[in-house]
């Protein structure tokens, strides 16, 4: 079922991940028995409505918090805390407003007490079109530029896996298309393994090799869709009938299959 057709050890495995939060109003079951395997170099989208446990899942994969039960494996090793091979891109860029662009990008090096890989940073900045903006502060940059900077920050330390938490959710539709295109290019160039969280079906179809559809409360894996649209996908792919069919199929599965606990994988050969 692997999108890239390779068989072999998975890069990232989530096994029966369950997370319950203890809050004052009782137990919140955010994530229930979620399992998936991400192949090396695969781009997975986790799709679901707000509050379905997507971010909880991503935080667990990043080692930011533990699971009530189940586990996350990176290259077969359990993830028990933040891991240098796992990079994160947050909602709304999450730049530190008191640091300029270059200081923001150097943050991971400061934390690791390593010398910044300036050549790599410069190359990445040029790649995303931010060369010359090094000394601007986040408030002086547009939302798209901020998110590009945050992608550079994550890639600057060369992680193997990139976990992206609705990174483009706050951007307008045009900027979002632009960013999705850029992300696809960077992914094709670097071959990173990416898990991308979104609540936007079209975004998921445009980006993903496979789409994990989650049902809300508790967050379960409801359906898996394989997207076989050829790469690189231009923005115009979003106006093709196949694209619409996929979007419609996913939408239908959410409307009618939300309650179903089955893990029926719907193959859509296009």
């Amino acid at each position: 079922m692997r999108a890239n057709g390779t068989e072999g050890p998975a890069k990232l495995v989530v096994e029966h991940a369950t997370k319950h939060y203890q809050t004052k109003s009782g137990t919140v079951r955010a994530l229930e028995d979620y399992s998936m395997a991400v192949a090396p170099g695969e781009l997975i989208c986790v799709l679901g409505p707000s509050g379905c446990g997507k971010s909880t899942l991503l935080w667990a994969m990043a080692g930011l918090h533990g699971l009530t039960s189940g586990r996350v494996l990176l290259d077969g090793q359990p993830v028990t805390g933040p891991h240098p091979a796992i990079g994160m891109v947050f909602q709304e860029a999450n730049l530190l407003p008191w640091r300029n662009l270059i200081k923001n990008i150097q943050l991971p090096f400061e934390i690791k007490r390593a010398r910044p890989d300036q050549a790599r940073i410069d190359r990445l900045l040029a790649r995303v079109g931010l060369a010359g903006f090094e000394h601007k502060y986040p408030r002086e940059l547009s939302g798209g530029m901020q998110q590009r900077a945050s992608i550079v920050r994550s890639l600057s330390v060369d992680p193997e896996v990139l976990l992206m938490d609705e990174p483009f959710g706050a951007l307008d539709a045009f900027t979002r298309d632009e960013m999705n295109l850029l992300l696809q290019e960077i992914w094709l160039e670097t071959g990173k393994t990416i898990v991308f969280i979104t609540h936007n079906i079209a975004e998921a179809v445009f980006l993903a090799d496979r789409i994990m559809v989650m049902s809300p409360r508790p967050g379960r894996l409801a359906n898996v869709f394989t997207v076989d649209l050829p790469r690189p996908r231009p923005i115009s792919v979003t106006t093709e009938p196949h694209f619409f069919e996929l979007v419609a199929a996913i939408k239908g599965s959410i409307d009618h299959g939300a309650g179903a606990a089955g893990h029926a994988a719907v193959e859509l050969g296009l």
């Binding site: 939060y21 933040p82 240098p84 943050l107 400061e110 690791k112």
Partner: protein, 287 residues
């Protein structure tokens, strides 16, 4: 590989905006500060402000001369300035004394206040227990303790330095604590995702985030320190600008008395400008 962060372990990853509530402390925040200084943009506005000063000072001069108000009731601005210039050598050591008390007392009080705020806000339980006592320290005029402190420490600088520290410390602390309480979990998670330790999160995320409120606390604390220093000098001792105020008023030397007030006003304004400038440099990202 490091372990899971204590704070993030049971946190639902929803990033609500504006969790800290520091933005709601609007009587003293930095935008209020910049309202007074930052809004001065054009030379025309600066000119207008100076013109108002000229009109007020000139009008006072004119009125006091026309009405022949005796000097011992209210000296004219020119008499005050003359006294300031001619008696400056006499006043200079007292300025030094007041500034020393303020500087040393404020440094001690602010350092303790800042560290306490940083530590206590990390332990919500401790904070709850300590909060009412801090409130007592903030609301009680520390000037009231000066006679007691003089009994214990004599008429030197010590009781006044202690009073300044007691007055400014809680102000710095209560404002800094508000700053440290603003926890932006997304930014802490960001640092954690790069493997930051608790100390690194504190130094690179929490302190910069608290800075705007810390600076507000330093400004209010130093002004309170100045008030307390002058008040303590009036109560006891033989030096300092507060002592000179009491001295000159007892001798009905009103030009010298007003010269002292002018100096105190200049010190107060300088403190304000200093912290405004610091705020602009270190906390301008806030606004």
């Amino acid at each position: 590989m490091s372990t899971v962060d204590r704070e993030l372990q049971d946190t639902i990853p929803e990033f609500k905006k504006d969790k800290g509530g520091a933005q709601t402390v609007d009587i003293t925040n930095l935008s209020a500060m910049s309202g007074a200084l930052g809004s001065i943009r054009s030379w025309a506005e600066v000119g207008a402000i100076l013109l108002v000063a000229v009109v007020i000072v000139g009008g006072a001069e004119l009125l006091l001369r026309l009405l022949e108000v005796p000097q011992y009731i209210l000296p004219t601005p020119s008499q005050t300035v003359t006294a300031l210039v001619t008696d400056f050598p006499l006043l200079a050591p007292h300025i030094g004394v007041t500034l020393t008390e303020l500087g040393v007392g404020f440094a001690i009080g602010a350092a303790i206040g800042f560290v306490l705020a940083a530590v206590i806000t990390q332990f919500p339980f401790v904070e709850k227990i300590v909060a009412p006592y801090i409130l007592v320290l903030v609301t009680t005029p520390m000037l009231a303790l000066v006679p007691l402190l003089i009994l214990r420490f004599g008429f030197g600088l010590e009781p006044r330095i202690i009073a300044v520290a007691l007055a400014s410390g809680p102000m710095v602390m209560i404002n800094s604590a508000t700053g440290f309480r603003r926890t932006d979990l997304a930014k802490i998670a960001l640092a954690r995702s790069f493997g930051a330790s608790t100390l690194q999160i504190f130094l690179k995320i929490r302190i910069p985030m608290a800075m705007p409120m810390v600076i507000v606390g330093l400004m209010i604390g130093s002004i309170f320190g100045l008030l307390t220093a002058v008040g303590a000098e009036m109560v006891g001792g033989s030096s300092g600008l507060g002592n000179r105020l009491a001295y000159y008023s007892s001798l009905i030397q009103m030009p010298q008395f007003f010269a002292c007030i002018l100096i105190l006003a200049l010190i107060g304004i300088s403190i304000y400008v200093l912290f405004f400038w610091i705020g602009k440099k270190w906390a301008s990202w806030e606004s």
